[in-house]
Symmetry: C2
Subunit: 411 residues, 2 copies
Amino acid sequence: MQDLGAKARAAGRELAKADTGAKNAALFTLAERLVEEAEAILEANREDMRRARDNNLDAALLDRLELTPARIEAMADGVRQVAALPDPVGTMTDLALRPSGIQVGKMRVPLGVVGIIYESRPNVTADAAALCLKSGNATILRGGSEAHQSNQAIALCIRRALQRAGLPADAVQVLSTTDRAAVGELLTMPQFVDVVIPRGGKGLVAFVAEHARVPVIKHLDGICHVYIDADADLEKAIAIAVNAKTQRYGTCNTMETLLVDASMAPRALPELGRIYRDLKVELRGCERTRKFLPEAKPATEEDWRTEYLAPILAIRVVDGLDAAIRHINDYSSQHTDSIVTENYTRARRFLREVDSASVMVNASTRFADGYEYGLGAEIGISTDKFHARGPVGLEGLTSQKWVVLGDGQVR
Amino acid sequence: MQDLGAKARAAGRELAKADTGAKNAALFTLAERLVEEAEAILEANREDMRRARDNNLDAALLDRLELTPARIEAMADGVRQVAALPDPVGTMTDLALRPSGIQVGKMRVPLGVVGIIYESRPNVTADAAALCLKSGNATILRGGSEAHQSNQAIALCIRRALQRAGLPADAVQVLSTTDRAAVGELLTMPQFVDVVIPRGGKGLVAFVAEHARVPVIKHLDGICHVYIDADADLEKAIAIAVNAKTQRYGTCNTMETLLVDASMAPRALPELGRIYRDLKVELRGCERTRKFLPEAKPATEEDWRTEYLAPILAIRVVDGLDAAIRHINDYSSQHTDSIVTENYTRARRFLREVDSASVMVNASTRFADGYEYGLGAEIGISTDKFHARGPVGLEGLTSQKWVVLGDGQVR
């Protein structure tokens, strides 16, 4: 692993000064090769799938693991989209002249070496490699053992694409080892690894956060709220509350708790109750909620803290904005929270006072996503405050150094 | 400590929404109180000094510990300067309209709770409290046991100033305990502490980096380089090389190794040798350096890795820009490195390819400083790449959350 780390560090230095053209050429070649080598990748994937079935892995995992010609096409498309994004590296900003005569500004630079630890989806191999390559970072990828063959087949395409573009082949290294010791080492080599990004379930993220001796961009729970304010437009409120919960149940930006101002409850809750009932969403409400929705089960303290990732919704009636903000800052996982209101001042207060990675006015929490935000793609969503919050794209994979331009100035 | 952490978290929430006027009022009151209470602070400091002398602490430490009326005045001035800086909190930027109709941008927000662990200088208590307060962060300050009385006297002024401005008194908590266990706890409460900043010697920083389970803004060595390029203006080169080494010996942005292009060595080294000799700087050179400066001791591999913090300079003759950049990226501590050249293309390459927190052209490394960069003040200098590099001011104590403004959009 030390040797692998040293190779990544050396490749990272080369990549940091690579020009945009070379990086894009590698990405376009990678996209081509994924399509050309589709049959080899699918064959490797079939082998992984066979072993996964033999090991009785569950249906959800098998679905994430499986590649199809369409999924490979989508992977290639994703890589082409990253090529089309502007290159953040080298951008200089804010070059201010100082009284001493020096000019001081910042230049955006890669972080260096990024470790990615992920679970069953083989498409992460191509996605993560593409984002790191474009942002000038070397990558060490460690996928799930169940996707081993698929990942190696994709890794071969990446390696060839790097070589064809004249970039160091070690810029993207896919760990072939399947033991946990390699992960442990990856997490504890600050001399070679600048940041680790775990992509997977809570168990994986918690393991990485616990053991890492390098910075981690981590994504824990997504307990997202929509608050329907006293001055909400009812139609918008209904549309957002339904969309935020039901457009997809398993995503981190799905609403898990709906807060309703007491004055809006009589108008909003019965109608929402009918819609959720039709969509088979199980409701759990506070006592005041259950006056309007007797079919809701009583919500417990535990419900306010739960990321259901399922057709279940907790509902609480609150007295005004302060109570709503207090509930959110107490129970939210600081992922994404939205207010529905026509009131200007309360909208501004919600934006300022809710301490979450994404804070919204009159929009569905489902918009918290790299593509929707215009990042092009995301390497993950951070629920930390340090370095990057929310969807992390190319910029989140970079840092800024200071540049000073002088004419011989001394102090 | 848990209780103290919970108080800091609650105070941080209040402070995050405090308006600039209240924060500035607290800062101006603090500056006033420091001056009014100068006699009480000096008395506390005299007690610390007595104990320090009884414990035979060395002269350098005694100098850092000692307060004088002038030093208290300077402390008050520093606090007033922070009050005069623009408030970064709440600034919204880059509000782009997306194809979906939502408007997406970023708002600058405090990190939350900042832990500062520092050694003997009592002025850090006021400096750090002021910067954290202005950036909307609650602070837990843990100074050196030798400055205990002085820090408590300053802490009292801070507490009163917060109360007078109607801000939570727990926004700045100065640990009265002097045991190491409190530090250990401070480093391992991610639920209450968002970042820890150690300010002190290498031992302290290494201890914090080793034990922290929260993010750390850390400053390790300052092994800074000046490279005199083949196309350097000789006059600028001499001025910068002398200033970078000799203006102050003990600071982290002092040059420790001078690199000279082979073609410049015959002109630059003899003259520099004369000046350094007059200033009593001990020289250690590579073989080629010693041809021009026979009085220089032979430099060893160890010299390239050493932060002397003393009137000692390592000198190496190199063949061109690539060799200089290679030396810097191999041996520099990624703090501050400067090229002296009139060559446009080599200047651009140096800026791009040297991977240090501050990269300079034709300026003394001594400029790497929060005041010189226009940050107004610095809470520290980061040699990390994650979150913040180089001098860390108010902005480095903040993060950005996403804001989304919609009109009822759903996905």
